[in-house]
């Protein structure tokens, strides 16, 4: 089933399982959201469970906080990545800190769903990679599924979490199909996963870039280089076990991301791998990322966003050491 339908199924299951779960956001009711992720849910669960809100991101997050104080588990949809910033204070200064401020007397089970990333040819503010802002903020958990099966399970796990979860949906993956196994959860929410075995270089990626990394690994194999690919899945906290195991075997690592490289996920993972697996490394950890520029006009995004060739160029560089 397509990624967006898997999310829809996961949300439907969460709504059916608990009447404390609410969906709220702009155009998520009759329209089903601009990406149709919530399609049909208002018809099924009613306007009291699936709320079309006024157009005000700070209040969407802020009222979700108040609803959580009242024992609800709100799931907010932010329509596009670039529109999360009007709600940024409520996420980083309020939502992230309320449990700490209340010395544990209060939990904040709020999920913020954000379609993010490029490759859909959209206009300005409709393609951003804001993950580093949120991973830098203590109190938030940040996750990003890359497959329909993960989308189905991770959204349910995020809703079950007593902590606030920033749920980043790689929008270029919405239409990608994959198997969903509704009978069993594959992994816990915060586990990373080796998605391809290899022996020469470890490629770590998250979100939409996992597919690009797999593409690069397939191309490398044709040229005789064996790449292992790790899907981060959870951006905060990061599950370093599979990454370090992999690097200790391959001795080389490349981090691939759409986001700008400066103070990014790739920077963080590279630093930690250097600290913890220094004697296993045969080459410096390399980052492949978007440039440190604003996201460009859509006609240039193909140059801005790393593709398989850019990843392979980095793989070759690590092998040259």
């Amino acid at each position: 089933m397509p990624f967006s339908r898997a999310l829809n199924a996961g949300l439907r299951k969460a709504l059916a399982d608990s009447d404390r779960v609410l969906l709220m956001g702009e155009d998520i009711g009759k329209l089903g959201g601009v990406f149709r992720v919530t399609e049909g849910l208002q018809a099924e669960f009613g306007e009291r469970r699936v709320l079309d809100t006024p157009l005000a991101e700070s209040a969407i997050i802020g009222t979700a906080i108040g609803l959580a104080m009242g024992g609800f588990r709100p799931v907010c949809e932010i329509q596009f990545d670039g529109f999360v910033f009007p709600g940024f204070d409520q996420i980083t200064s309020q939502l992230a800190k309320l449990t700490y401020r209340h010395e544990g007397a209060l939990q904040m089970p709020v999920v913020i769903r954000i379609p993010y990333g490029g490759h859909i040819g959209a206009v300005e503010h409709h393609q951003e990679s804001p993950e580093a802002y949120f991973t830098h903020t203590p109190g938030l958990r940040v996750v990003s599924p890359s497959t329909p099966n993960d989308a189905y399970w991770m959204i349910q796990d995020a809703i079950s979490s007593p902590d606030p979860v920033i749920f980043l949906e790689p929008k270029s993956r919405y239409w990608q199909k994959g198997e969903v196994d509704a009978s069993a959860r594959a992994l816990p929410l915060h586990a990373s996963r080796v998605v391809r075995r290899g022996t020469d270089v470890t490629i770590v990626a998250h979100g939409a870039m996992v597919a690009t990394a797999l593409q690069a690994a397939a191309l490398a194999e044709a040229e005789g280089t064996s790449c292992e690919v790790v899907d981060l899945r959870s951006l905060s906290p990061i599950d370093y076990g599979p990454i370090l195991d992999s690097v200790r075997r391959t001795g080389r690592m490349v981090y691939a991301q759409e986001a700008s490289g400066f103070t990014s996920l790739g920077s963080e993972v590279a630093a930690t791998v250097m600290e913890r697996a220094f004697y296993s490394l045969e080459a410096p950890v390399l980052r492949v990322s978007g440039f440190d520029t604003p996201f460009p006009p859509a006609k240039l995004e193909g140059i801005f966003l790393p593709d398989a060739d850019r990843i392979l160029e980095a793989v070759d560089r690590t092998l040259a050491y």
Partner: protein, 376 residues
């Protein structure tokens, strides 16, 4: 700046303490007539006693015992009136100057002190019944308004308001100031409240100054009109008149809890002290202005009113003594507040375990232990 004298202002007590209701106050008079003498005395007692606490806290800051203190001096009537109008089941969302509100609802004044002494970011559990559903202070202006609206939305979804039983139906009141009224969150929150018809009262204390910036920079029209523009019935009240503040709050809360949707109140008052103890009001306002507001002091006004009704010297002496006792108690307990364990840094960042926080907690413990002297 003086309170608007337009006909819409609700005032019951004139500045000289005489009963002189404005036309807009007429509809509220039965509520005031219904107050027992003991309730009138409670209003006065609240104002005097908590002013004594506020003055003591200011002194404690001057003596280096607190990092900061935002005085509530002068705003007692708006806070007492609104907080005494709330029913026990109501939820109250203060910003950071509502010491009077919090104390009336049961929050220990020393719990407020702990915030300003740097011992906690919260100070009390709003869900502990002894704190009267009073939420913790929020320092980002207006940020608490959408929280209050969300909680009120939840009350509606749970069917805990609008049932026709005013003794059980719940409402929410949120406090903010004239400076915060410029914040987007306040407007967004009002839009949500109007859209979802929340059982909620927006209580704006217009104390004329946002640190050094006068209210005329925040708004060229009376602030209560903003509620009207969003579809929220709104009232302007003399916030230095505890009787009027009580009555408009009581009516607004009951209308909201009965299912009538949100209400907004602008209480015209004056911050007689500094914005906080870090501030110097002499740099931006005149002594004439301060004097003109001192003549409208909410406590003095109520004192004259009660005196005219025959309150005894013993009553006033008793209230003064109670204020002194509270101040002394706060001083004693403040200086006895102990340091907090370093581990608090790592507690409650998340509700579920988080490896990064756990690693750093363990690292700090090991690092601290490395300084322990070797007994040999």
């Amino acid at each position: 700046m003086t309170p608007s004298e337009d006909t819409s202002l609700v005032r019951v007590l004139a500045a000289d303490g005489s009963l002189a209701p404005t036309a807009a106050a007429e509809r509220y008079l039965p509520l005031i007539d219904a107050l027992a003498e003991s309730e009138l005395e409670t209003f006065y007692r609240d104002m005097v006693v908590i002013r004594a606490f506020d003055r003591e806290a200011t002194n404690l800051q001057r003596q280096g015992q607190l990092a900061l203190w935002p005085p509530s001096l002068g705003q007692e009537a708006a806070q007492v009136g609104s907080a005494r109008a709330a029913r026990p089941q109501d939820h109250l969302f203060p910003s950071y100057r509502e010491h009077v509100v919090c104390t009336i609802r049961g929050v220990d004044p020393v719990d407020i002190i702990r915030v300003m002494r740097g011992l906690t970011h919260g100070g009390w559990n709003p869900f502990d019944p002894k704190n009267g559903n009073t939420h913790v202070y929020t320092l980002v202006l207006g940020a608490q308004t959408p929280h209050s609206t969300g909680l009120a939305m939840g009350i509606t979804l749970d069917g805990r308001s609008g049932t026709g039983d005013l003794e059980r139906d719940e409402a929410v009141i949120v406090y903010y100031g004239d400076g915060a009224s410029s914040q987007g969150d306040v407007h967004e929150s009002m839009v949500f409240a109007a859209s979802y018809q929340t059982p909620q009262v927006f209580f704006l204390q217009n104390n004329q100054w946002a640190i050094s910036v006068p209210v005329s920079t925040q708004s060229r029209s009376p602030l209560y009109l903003r509620g009207e523009g969003i579809g929220i019935p709104s009232v302007q009240v003399d916030g230095n008149d505890v009787l009027a503040s009580y009555a408009v709050s009581k009516v607004a809360l009951d209308e909201a809890r009965a299912g009538g949707g949100p209400r907004a109140i602008e209480a015209l008052t004056y911050r007689m002290g500094a914005h906080t103890t870090s501030d110097d009001p002499t740099k931006y306002r005149t002594s004439d202005e301060e004097r003109s507001w001192a003549e409208r002091d909410p406590i003095e006004r109520m004192r004259v009113f009660l005196r005219g009704r025959g309150a005894s010297d013993a009553f006033f002496a008793d209230v003064e003594a109670e204020g002194r006792a509270l101040a002394e108690d706060v001083r004693t307990r403040t200086t006895a507040l102990e340091t907090i364990p370093a581990d608090l840094i790592f507690s409650n960042v998340y509700s579920d375990p988080h490896p990064l926080v756990d690693e750093q907690r363990a690292w700090l413990a090991g690092y601290e232990a490395s300084f322990e002297e070797d007994p040999s």
